[in-house]
């Protein structure tokens, strides 16, 4: 019998036909994940006339940047710039708060000789089993903490999370050996000094990972705004998109009032401008995404490892 040669290349690989077929299938799916975004960019760059006569198209007849000039210099510009400002502020400040709370808490429960380690761990992990629910959260936020229509309503609800704590704790346990802390203690360093000058510098990659999770969460957040924000000055980009859409629905479902419809639609951004807001509120993620994806996947696999 002829011996078949097996090399490591043959392990885990399809034969040529299967390889081609599956490559096409997967590539089609991968393209479907990117196409809608490109489509929205194209729509935002299509002139209103072309949209009105031909509808949305991948190959528009007439290209125009008027949607963007309208957003950044027209009547809409103050609204857009303010929403952009709110989104950026909430993302930056919220991420700092989240990273600080998370790393402090995770560090404490990563210390093997801390006698209340178990208590604090369980205290945080219970929150993964049960959710208080929207109503209870809403009542506490508005009636007990009185955070409705404040910037804190957009920051505090997402300021900590058990998943990030788990990721960070695993990171501390893996990268910071007990002996370093012990020896620093013998040298007379206080806990705070140990944390600041030994633990933090070693934990930078971990902190970067959880900051990424937090920043993405804040940038994409619309839910807290939907529940807690009525003040027009506090509307973030994602919520602005919801508001525009809801106003449209409202106007078209009450189309009997045609006079109002005309007036109402005039106050709303045009089709291409709406898509331009979608582009603006997505672009930072899409542009930075290839750089952070690696860290994200790393953090995810750390978090997925159980004790």
């Amino acid at each position: 019998m002829k011996k078949e040669k097996i090399s490591s290349v043959n392990v885990r690989s399809f034969n040529t036909t299967a390889n081609t077929i599956f490559n096409i299938v997967i590539a089609l799916f991968a393209i479907s994940c990117v196409i809608p975004f490109i489509f929205v960019i194209i729509i935002s760059l299509t002139s209103e006339n072309s949209l009105a006569s031909n509808g949305y198209s991948f190959f528009p007849k007439e290209i125009s940047t008027s949607a963007y000039t309208y957003l950044f210099s027209g009547t809409m510009s103050t609204k857009i710039l303010r929403a952009l400002g709110v989104t950026v502020f909430v993302t930056v400040f919220g991420t700092i708060v989240n990273a600080t709370l998370t790393s402090l808490y995770a560090y404490v429960i990563s210390r093997s000789n801390f006698p209340y380690k178990k208590f604090f761990t369980v205290f945080a992990l219970i929150t993964m089993l049960f959710t208080p629910g929207m109503v209870a959260n809403y009542l506490v936020m508005t009636n007990l903490l009185h955070l409705k229509d404040t910037i804190w309503a957009l920051i505090l609800p997402s300021a900590l999370g058990p998943f990030n704590i788990l990721v960070m704790r695993t990171f501390f346990i893996k990268t910071i050996p007990d002996s370093i802390i012990e020896s620093a203690k013998i040298d007379g360093a206080t806990e705070l000094k140990i944390f600041r000058s030994i633990v933090l510098p070693l934990a930078v990659p971990g902190i970067a990972t959880i900051s990424l999770f937090a920043a993405l969460g804040y940038w994409n957040d619309w839910f807290n705004a939907l529940l807690y924000v009525q003040n027009d000055n506090l509307v973030p980009l994602q919520y602005l998109l919801i508001k525009i859409q809801n106003n449209l629905e409202y106007l078209s479902s009450n189309s009997g009032m045609s006079a109002q419809l005309e007036g109402g639609l005039a106050a709303l951004p045009s089709e291409s401008a709406r898509m331009a807001i979608v582009v603006i509120s997505t672009l930072p993620i899409v542009l930075t995404y290839p750089f952070f994806q690696k860290y994200f996947v790393g953090g995810l696999t750390i978090g997925g490892v159980k004790e």
Binding site: E4, I6, V11, S13, N19, F22, N23, I26, F29, A30, C33, V34, P36, F37, F39, V40, I43, L51, G55, S57, T100, T102, L104, Y105, V108, R111, P115, Y116, F120, T127, L129, F130, T131, P132, G133, M134, V135, A136, Y138, L139, V140, N143, L144, L156, P157, A159, L160, L216, N220, L227, Q238, Q245, E249, M275, T282, V286, Y289, V297, L300, K306
Partner: protein
């Protein structure tokens, strides 16, 4: 540390520990306070489900005190309404289908990716397919609209271009279960497959070499090596997901159908029902009852699923 040392440490009391570890306790305090205000107090605030709750101007505590206990009346009203059955059915049916589809597609996707020859292409596919996970449902609802818009959408243009009649997607309930399933798989496939992909790639290649020496074909290798090896991962993720089976993805059900009233029977799930109850009606008690029903059943399902997995395979359970 020697045994004597450990014993000595154990004898030290609570007060000693507090003093000795005060710095660490202080460091955990901000987080602990956050958990108190954003988890523990809200959990107890669920008592409003058992009250005829009215907001008093003197603050939350006073409102709680002034509202009368009504026992399980809020739950009775909730379950007596037609909505309770509809939203429970929708939530469960969607989530079970999502769970099955996500598992099937994520594992298939991960296994295919692991067997593709060109690893550079695999990286590109991964990067592209993970993108939708990072976008919010608000943004995706606009993507969907670009395809489904009744007058301008690309899908209706295609239908009418081929001689068909345009479909008013946002008013026709029969398409939405399919749209939700497709959107759910589309958005999360890249993300769901990462962990499976990592664990498939972690399988010892000698298993495959041995199987190939014995003449196993690709399908036999996948069936007898890959799938059994990722089974523990599957069960852990399944438990986690079963815990959420009563929690609908509010973002998708609220944003993608654009609040269309005509679609209510296929888009109403527990979360949208609770949101509407909270914002549109003043019956906070009944809405809270719906919320508590959701949380309690969800927690029970999670514990139950974990118990079953622990019985079957102790190593794979979550806790």
């Amino acid at each position: 540390m020697t045994k004597a040392n450990i014993n000595k440490k154990k004898k030290k009391g609570f007060l000693y520990n507090i003093k000795e570890y005060r710095a660490l306790i202080l460091m955990a305090l901000p987080g602990a306070i956050w958990f108190i205000f954003f988890f523990y107090i809200p959990v107890f605030a669920n008592v409003v489900a058992f009250k005829d709750f009215h907001i008093s101007p003197d603050g939350f505590i006073q409102s709680l005190k002034e509202s009368a206990w009504v026992g399980f009346d809020n739950f009775k009203f909730l379950f007596a309404s037609n909505d309770a059955w509809l939203i429970t059915r929708n939530t469960l049916a969607y989530n079970i289908v999502f769970l099955a589809m996500n598992l099937l597609f994520a594992i298939t996707f991960a296994i295919i990716m692991s067997e593709l020859r060109n690893k550079k292409a695999v990286k590109v596919y991964h990067t592209m397919s993970l993108l939708p996970y990072f976008l919010s449902w608000v943004v995706i609802s606009y993507f969907v609209y670009a395809f489904l818009s009744p007058d301008k959408g690309i899908l209706n243009q295609w239908i009418t271009g081929n001689g068909g009649t345009a479909i008013n997607w946002y008013a026709d309930p029969k398409w939405w279960p399919l749209i939700f399933v497709v959107m759910n798989v589309w958005k999360s496939l890249g993300y769901n497959s990462i962990i499976y992909y990592a664990s498939v790639m972690g399988i010892d290649p000698t298993y495959y070499e041995a199987a190939m020496v014995d003449g196993a074909n690709k399908w036999q290798q996948i069936k007898n090596i890959t799938i059994p090896q990722i089974l523990p991962m599957m069960s852990v993720l399944l438990i986690l997901n079963i815990g959420g089976i009563f929690r609908a993805d509010f973002g998708m059900f609220y944003n993608v159908p654009r609040n269309s009233g005509a679609l209510y029977e296929v888009t109403a799930v527990l979360d949208t029902y609770i949101y509407n109850g909270l914002t549109a009606t003043s019956d906070i008690g009944m809405t809270a009852a719906a919320g508590l029903y959701q949380s309690a059943v969800g927690a029970c399902l999670l514990l139950l699923a974990n118990l079953i997995v622990r019985k079957l395979d102790p190593d794979s359970s979550l806790f």
